[in-house]
């Protein structure tokens, strides 16, 4: 069943940045791209389970704070060593200034 979960207000994530969001024992990373679009992925790096919210957003890339592994957060694609496994992504919508993610 489709489950839209309220995450935060639009302005809570700075432009070209990432925020951690914990829900029901799971952790997610919520991104705001330079073009002001919102995206969501699993919150932990697929390499060694480090919180991506401590990383750096550069355009459509999130760089992991531990070993600088990079993912395209719009698709979840791992961009090379040391990350080899893609990130799971989640649909996001913004309604009346509130960001929601769809956790299946």
């Amino acid at each position: 069943m489709t489950q839209w979960i309220k995450v935060c207000a639009q302005g809570d994530v700075a432009n070209e940045d990432v925020m951690r969001f914990d829900h029901a024992g799971r952790t997610f990373a919520i991104y705001r791209s330079p073009s002001n679009k919102y995206y969501a992925t699993d919150g932990l790096c697929t390499h060694e389970k480090v919180h991506l919210a401590d990383g750096l957003v550069m355009d459509h890339i999130i760089e992991c704070p531990k070993h600088n592994g990079r993912f395209d957060y719009t698709s979840g694609a791992a961009k090379g060593a040391p990350v080899c496994v893609n990130l799971k992504t989640y649909p996001v919508k913004v309604e009346t200034g509130i960001v929601f993610i769809n956790i299946d």
Binding site: D17, E48, M58, H67, N68, R70, C84
Partner: protein, 357 residues
């Protein structure tokens, strides 16, 4: 935590590897200084400018020293130019390998990758193997049985240590590993940290490198000249290594093993601008380990931010070696000894694993 047994087992598949996992020292949570996210973001920002500028100077220095060395050869006047060329070839490549391996030196990926491959060849570090060994070094810094980059094992063997300053053990190991890799194998230690999907690349690069090394020797023989082998291959790696070993051994030399706090097992040493150019600011080593996303040219600023949370930096190379050499000597007889670090008042050392979510 259970007491370690001496001598330690530094292999990645032995007694201390099992101990590290059993004690929660592997893949553990480490101390991080409380730097505000906004400031950290500023410091992490990438740009191509500083590394392009430094690389242009670096290439020009290579060209000038090699050109003058060749021009003055075989006179003794060529020696100083070879010595500087050697430092560029066998020492400055340590930091280029390192920073470009992290992908932080340049903003543009292909620039990092190009300099990474070039520097790896010059310093004779198999690029794929070392990318992964360094990843492990950052996960489990100086954790015995986990970190493949512990360069001075205890008890200290002084002769071997001196030989590292001329890259003798490193070069022998590099060739030994190249021959293992061209036979389509990894060492048992390498198998613990290089994933299956990356191994074909290791074998391919070993073939290419050996082909280059043999070609350079063949050209030297054909020309009846030492020049090619003095300029490319293991000789410049060795005769130019001493600067990077001299600076590199300050990173962790004599400090604690098996702690989860980079302030206790890593060292920041203040150095002059020439050394910092060669070393690309790797002397800010506590800072680099704690926040590896900060590019080398921003490390001095990060150092300022982290000062309140860290032990005082060593004021010079001399100051660092004044504590490292006695520690190495002491560790010949007492491998459990390490240099104690005084943390600023009010900050706690992280020496034991803590429960993670």
């Amino acid at each position: 935590m259970t007491e370690a047994t001496y001598p330690r087992d530094y292999s990645l598949i032995g007694r201390d590897a099992k101990r590290a996992i059993g004690e929660g020292l592997a893949n553990a949570q480490w101390y991080a200084a409380p730097i505000a996210r906004a400031r950290l973001k500023e410091l992490m920002r990438r740009s191509d400018g500083p590394a392009i500028r430094d690389t242009l100077i670096w290439i020009a220095a290579f060209g000038a020293t090699a050109g003058l060395a060749i021009y003055l050869w075989p006179s003794w006047w060529s020696v100083p130019f070879f010595l500087v060329y050697g430092i560029l070839y066998g020492s400055s490549t340590d930091s280029r390998w390192h920073e470009c391996g992290h992908g932080t030196a340049f903003k543009t990926r292909w620039m990092n990758d190009t300099i990474y491959q070039l520097a790896c060849f010059m310093i004779m570090r198999a690029p794929t193997i070392w990318r992964w060994s360094h990843t492990r070094h950052h996960t489990d810094t100086i954790i015995v049985g986990r970190d493949p980059e512990i360069s001075v094992m205890r008890p200290t063997v002084i002769l071997k240590l001196i030989a590292t300053y001329f890259a003798i053990p490193q070069t022998i190991a590099a060739f030994k590993h190249m021959f293992i890799h061209i036979s389509g194998r990894l060492t048992p230690d390498e198998m613990t940290y290089v994933p299956e999907m990356e191994r074909a690349r290791v074998y391919l690069i070993a073939h290419i490198w050996l082909a280059i090394h043999f070609s350079v020797i063949a050209i030297s023989l054909y020309l009846h000249s030492w020049l090619p082998v003095l300029l490319v291959g293991p000789l410049p790696t060795m005769y130019g290594a001493w600067v990077h070993v001299m600076t590199g051994q300050t990173q962790h030399g004599g400090l604690a093993e098996d702690v989860l706090d980079h302030r206790l097992n890593s060292r920041t040493v203040l150095m002059n601008p020439v050394l910092r150019f060669i070393y690309w600011n790797m002397n800010y080593h506590v800072e680099h380990h704690m926040f590896p996303m900060v590019p080398y040219h921003k490390l001095p600023k990060l150092y300022e931010e982290m000062k309140p949370f860290c032990p005082p930096a060593n004021t010079s190379l001399f100051d660092a070696y004044r504590e490292i050499i006695p520690a190495w000597l002491k560790q010949r007889k007492d491998p459990s000894y390490c240099i104690p670090r005084q943390l600023p008042e009010g900050t706690m050392a992280m020496i034991c694993p803590i429960a993670t979510e």
